[in-house]
Symmetry: D3
C-alpha cells in the first residue's frame, strides 16, 4: 500500500497489523550524458513500489532530494547539505514514530546518501540514549544495489563497464519504467575514468561528462526490468523480518 | 520539460533560453476520512506538470513533505519542522541558483507552507543583503488556489461546503488524476466545523475526523479536471513573466 | 500594567486573575526621508501601552528589532535574520509559558515580521505536537493595521498616498507620541512608487529614498492620535477574549 | 542622538563624522520584592541616553532581553538562551557594520550577559579571522557598574548591603527615572544571603525572594540621580576614544 | 613531528616542504570489563605517533572524543552527538586549511566515527562546491584497522574471537603502550555475542558487559607491539602519497 | 584515577563513593617563538593529572582544543568556534551527568576559553531551568592560574615580564614536563607589547611574534615544577568540597 494514496484511517488500521514502513530515498543529480537527473530517486521509488505490490507492507513518499554536493558543477543537480538531509531524516522518523511505526526502512538509490543517513540515525539514537527508557525504534538503511543477490546479478549482466556513477544498471531501471525518457547519446570515451573526488569542482575536473567508471550505453530496458524484479523481491525478504506489529 | 527526466546537458541548453523553473511543493498529511495523505503534494505536482505541457518551461522535482505539525495527531502525517523546511528551501534555491536559474517559482499545495517558505526566502535574502552586490534572484511562492481566477472558480463550483482542510476541490483534483485511489466513505457530520487551532493536540480535539469546514463528499473527478486545467493555465500566465533568459 | 514596571510578586498576583499578555513587536529600519528608524517599534509600543491603560491586562517589553533585511541598504537599519527572530520568539514564549501565561498576543508594527513570527509559532507548536499532551498554549499575532476597523479608518483618512512603507499613518502615530522628533523634509516625488522586491540591493534600486507607495508628508499628529486610540480600543476588544485566567 | 528618533539620511550624515555607536543591553528579570522586572534594561538605557545628551554620539535601541536563565523560577522573567542572545548580538553587529559603524559599544546593565556577549564577539571574530583581511571592527562591552569610578562610588554610597542582585544602586537609578513605579515593600531579612547558583531551581531554593546579598531598601532616588550622572560621564569619556570617523 | 610540541615558526617552516598532516581521532567509551575507556583514542594516537617517528610528517593533537552514543548506558562513556563531532571536524579542517595544509588525514580508532566524519567532509565540500573555484582540499579518513594489510594480520593473529567491540587487537595495542593499566578480569562468556543495535538502551540489553563478538582475553602486549608497527608502517605508506608541498 | 585508563566497571565502583570529576581543557594555539602549540592543553593536563595523584578523584580526558580564534593568523593554531566549543561542553556534561556525575570541574589552561565555557554552562542551565525539577548539577570552571595562591606565586617568581600570552609560567610548566621539547630561541624585543585585540588579523598586526606582554625567556623548568605542584595542591583543595557522593 502506498501511504500517499491512503487515508489516515487506513494507516491507523494498517498499524494494528504491522508497524513497518519503507521510505524510498534518492537524489536529483547529473547522471552523465545519457542518465536522467532523477535516476536515483526513480530507482528507489520503482523498486520500493514494486516490492509493495509483491509484499504486504506500506511504502511512504519518496524523499527525492539527497546529498549530491559533488555533482553541483553540472546544471540541474539539486543537493541538500548533509546537515539538511539529517534534519529531514530526523523529522521523518519523528513523524512516523509518533504515528506508531517501529521499523523504518529507508530504501536508498544513491551511494552519496549512505554516510549522511547513517549519521542522522546516530543523531536520533544519541538523543534517545540520554532519555529514560524510550520504546525501541529500529532504523534501517538499505541501498537497492546492496540488497542480497544484487551485486552478483550486476556482475553477471555487466562483466565490465558498470562503474560507480551513471551506471548502466540504474539507467536501465529508469529506461524500463520511463521508456518515453530514454536518451540516445554517443559517449566519448565509451567507458569513463573512475576514482575518488572531493568537492564539485574537483569532480568535474576529473569526470568531465559526469560519468564515473561507467559505460552507460550498456543500459537496456529489459535488464532494468530484471534488476527491478530482483531488487523488489530482495526487499520483500528484508521486510519479512519486520512483519509482526 | 520535467527536470528529473532530463539530462544535465539538456538543462544546460534550456538555461540558454530561459532561467525560470517551477518547483511543486506540497505536504503529506491527513486529509480527513476521504482525502489521501498525499493530497497536497499531488495537487501541486499535477498542476505544475500539466502547466509544463501547456507552456514551455521547466518543472522540477516535487518537494512532497511540508510543514504539517498540526496534523501530527493523525497517523500517516509526515511533517517537517519549519526550521527543516527552511533549510530544504535554502538548499534547493542555492543549487538552482548555482545552476544558473534566476526565477524560482514554488507552486504550493498546502496553506501551512506559506509562512515557512516565505520565511525561508527572507533568510536567503537576508544573507544576500549583507553581500556585495550579488546577481539578482527572484523567488516566488504561489499557491495553486491563489492563482488568478481560482478562488472565483471555487466559489462557483462549491457555493458551500468548501471549507479549509480536506476541501472537495483538492480531493477532486486527486480523484481525476488517481481514479484508482478514490475513497467512498460516509462523512458525519456532512460538513465539518471550521476555525483556528494551535498544535496537533488542539487540532484533533477540535476537528476529530481531520476535516476543517469541508464537505469532502462534494468532490467529483470532473471538477478536478476543470480545476487542474484552470490552475495550469493560470500558472502558464504567471511563468510568461519570467520567459526571457 | 507594564510588566517591566512590575515586581515578580505583582506578576504572580496578576496571573491568578488572568493568564494573558500583550508583547509589542516592531522593527528598527529606515522609513524614508521623514520617518524615524524606530517607527515600527514605536507604533506597536504606543498602541499596546495605550490599550493597557484602557483595559486591564499586562503589556510586556517591546521587541524592538524585527526582520528588516530588505532595508539593510539604508544606514541605521538593524535587522534580525528570520532564524534569529524565530529563536527570540521561541525563548520569549518559553519564558512566559513557564511563568504561567497561556494567551500570548504579539502586537506587531511591521509587515515584514508576519511570516517569521507565524513560522516561529509553527516551530513551537511542532515541538509540542510531538509531546505527550502538553497544557494548551494560545499564540496570537495581530498587526495593529489589521485590527478590526483600522483598514477602513486608514482608507478614510488617506484616500490616496498611504502606500505600504513609510506610510503617513505610522509616521502620524510617532508624530503624536514624539512631537520633538517630527521631521520636515521635502519629498520628491510626492508619492513614491510601489511594488515588490527581493533583497536589500533590489529594494534600494527600486525605491531610492526608502518609501514604497507612500506620501509620508500626509502625516499629521492629530491623525496619529486618532489612529492610536482606535487601534488601542480594537486591541482591548481582542484581549477581552482572553480575560479569564 | 537617538538612532530610533533619526532618519536614515541623518544617520548617513552622522557616519561621515563618527563611526561609533552605543547599544544599551539589559534584561527583563525578577529583581526581588522591590525591584522592577525591567531594572537592568532601564539602567542601561537611562545611562546611555543621558550620556548621549552629554556627549555627541549615537545611541541605538535598547536590547531589553538578556540571558536571565537563573531567574526563570520567578514569574515575569523573560530570558533569551545564550545561543539566542549570541545570534541577536551577531545580527546587530552585522547590521551596524554594514551601515558603516566600526566601534560598537554595548553598554550593559546585567552581569549575566557578560559571558554571553563576550562569546558572541568571539563568534563574530572567529568568522572574520578566517576571511581575507576584512576591515577592522572594534566590539566593546562595558557594564555601567564597571565604568571607571563607579565601583568606588558604590562602595561610598553603600558601605554595606549592596550585594549582587536587586542591588540598591540599580533600584535607585530606576526610582529616579521612573518615580511613579517606586515600590514600598518590607524586606525580610533586610539583607539577603549571597553566594553562587546553577539553574533557576537552585537559585530560587537559595534566594527565596530573589535578592542576592542586597538590602534593596537602601535605594533612594537621589542616589540614583548621582549614579546615573557619574556613569553617563564615564561613558562619555569611553566614547571619546572612538570619536574619529 | 608532533604539532603540539612544535612552535608556530617550526610549523611555518614545515609547510614549505609538505602540506600534509595526520589527525588521530578516537573515542572515550566503554570497552567491556577488560578494555580501557580510552582505548580508541589511545590506539589512534599510538599508531599515528609511531608513524610520525618512522616517516617525516606532522602529527596533530588527538581528537579524543568521538561518536559513542550506543555506549552511553555504561558509565564513563563520553560521547559527542554526530552534529557536534561534525562541527569539531569542520573547525579543525578550517583551521588547518587556513594554516596552509592541503592533505588532512584523520587516522581513526573507532568504527562509530566513520559515518559522522565522512558526513562532516561532505558538509565541508558542500560549502566549497557552491564557492567560486576554491583551492583544492584533500580530506582523508583512514581507520587503522582498515589500513592495507591489517585485516589480514588480524585474521592471522585472531583466527576466532576478534569480534567487533572490545576486540583483543585494540586492547593489545593499549597493553603494549600502557603496561601499568593492563586489567586482569575473568570474562563470562569467554566470547561475547555479536550483532546489530540501535541506541544505548538497546546496546546494553543485547551486550550486557559491553563486548560485541570479542574474546578480549586473547589480548597480549606483544601482539599489540606487532599491530602497532604494522599499522604505523601502512600509515607511512599512505602519507607518502601526500609528500609534496 | 584517570578515566581513560579505567574500565566502565571501575568507574561504576568509583561513582558509589564520589560523583565528582575533573576535566582538563586547553587549546592548541601559537605561543610565540619559544612556546609549544600545545602549551595550554599540556598545562591543564599536567596539573590535573598531578592533582589526581595527590588526591583521590577522577581525571577525565583532556579537551585539547579550545577557542583560539585570535591566534589563527599563526600556522599550527587549531581553533573551535565558540558555538562548537559550547556544543562539545554540552555533550561532555550530558554524558557525564548521564553516567551519574554531579560535580563536573573543568580545569582550564586558556583564558580565551573562559567566556565560552561559562556561556556553555548557561546554555545547559537554561534548558534545565525550564524542566520540571531536575536533579542538581554543579558545573565549575577553574583556570589553573586563578586557583588560590597562584597569582601571588606568579608575581613572586616573575616580578616583571609575565604578560598575558606565551607567559614564562606556562612555558615553564611544559619545560618541566616535556624536557625534550624545550626550545632555545632569541626573542626580540625581550618583552613583547601587551594590550587588547579583536580578530586574528588585528592580533598579528599588534603582536607580530605572537607573545603578549611576556618575556618567555624567563621560563625555567624548575619554576614549572614548583608551579605544577602548587596548582595541583590548590586543585586538590578545590576538589575536597565535592568529595561526598
Amino acid at each position: 500500500m502506498l501511504l500517499v494514496e491512503a487515508t489516515w484511517k487506513e494507516i491507523e488500521s494498517h498499524l494494528a497489523t504491522s508497524r513497518a514502513i519503507v521510505m524510498p530515498i534518492g537524489s536529483v543529480e547529473q547522471h552523465g550524458p545519457m542518465g536522467l537527473l532523477g535516476t536515483d530517486a526513480m530507482c528507489a521509488e520503482i523498486i520500493a513500489r514494486r516490492a509493495g505490490e509483491l509484499g504486504d507492507f506500506l511504502v511512504g513518499p519518496t524523499l527525492s532530494l539527497g546529498m549530491a554536493q559533488s555533482h553541483l558543477a553540472f546544471p540541474g543537480t539539486i543537493s541538500l547539505k548533509p546537515s539538511t538531509l539529517m534534519a529531514v531524516v530526523q523529522d521523518v522518523v519523528a513523524s512516523l514514530s509518533n504515528s506508531g511505526f517501529r521499523h523504518i526502512v529507508f530504501l536508498n538509490g544513491h551511494g552519496g546518501n549512505i554516510a549522511t543517513v547513517t549519521t542522522a540515525f546516530g543523531e536520533i539514537h544519541a538523543h534517545r540514549s540520554l532519555q529514560q527508557d524510550p520504546e525501541n525504534l529500529n532504523l534501517v538503511l538499505k541501498s537497492w544495489f546492496d540488497l542480497p543477490g544484487i551485486r552478483k546479478l550486476l556482475a553477471e549482466i555487466y562483466p565490465s563497464g558498470h562503474g560507480s556513477h551513471a551506471t548502466p544498471s540504474e539507467i536501465a531501471i529508469t529506461q524500463h519504467a520511463f521508456p518515453h525518457a530514454v536518451k540516445q547519446v554517443a559517449l566519448d570515451p565509451q567507458t569513463a575514468p573512475d576514482g575518488g573526488f572531493s568537492d564539485a569542482h574537483d569532480f568535474r575536473r576529473r569526470y568531465p561528462d559526469g560519468r564515473k567508471g561507467a559505460n552507460s550505453s550498456l543500459a537496456k530496458p529489459e535488464d532494468g526490468a530484471r534488476l527491478t524484479e530482483a531488487a523488489a523481491q530482495a526487499l520483500v525478504q528484508e521486510m519479512a523480518k519486520y512483519a509482526k506489529a
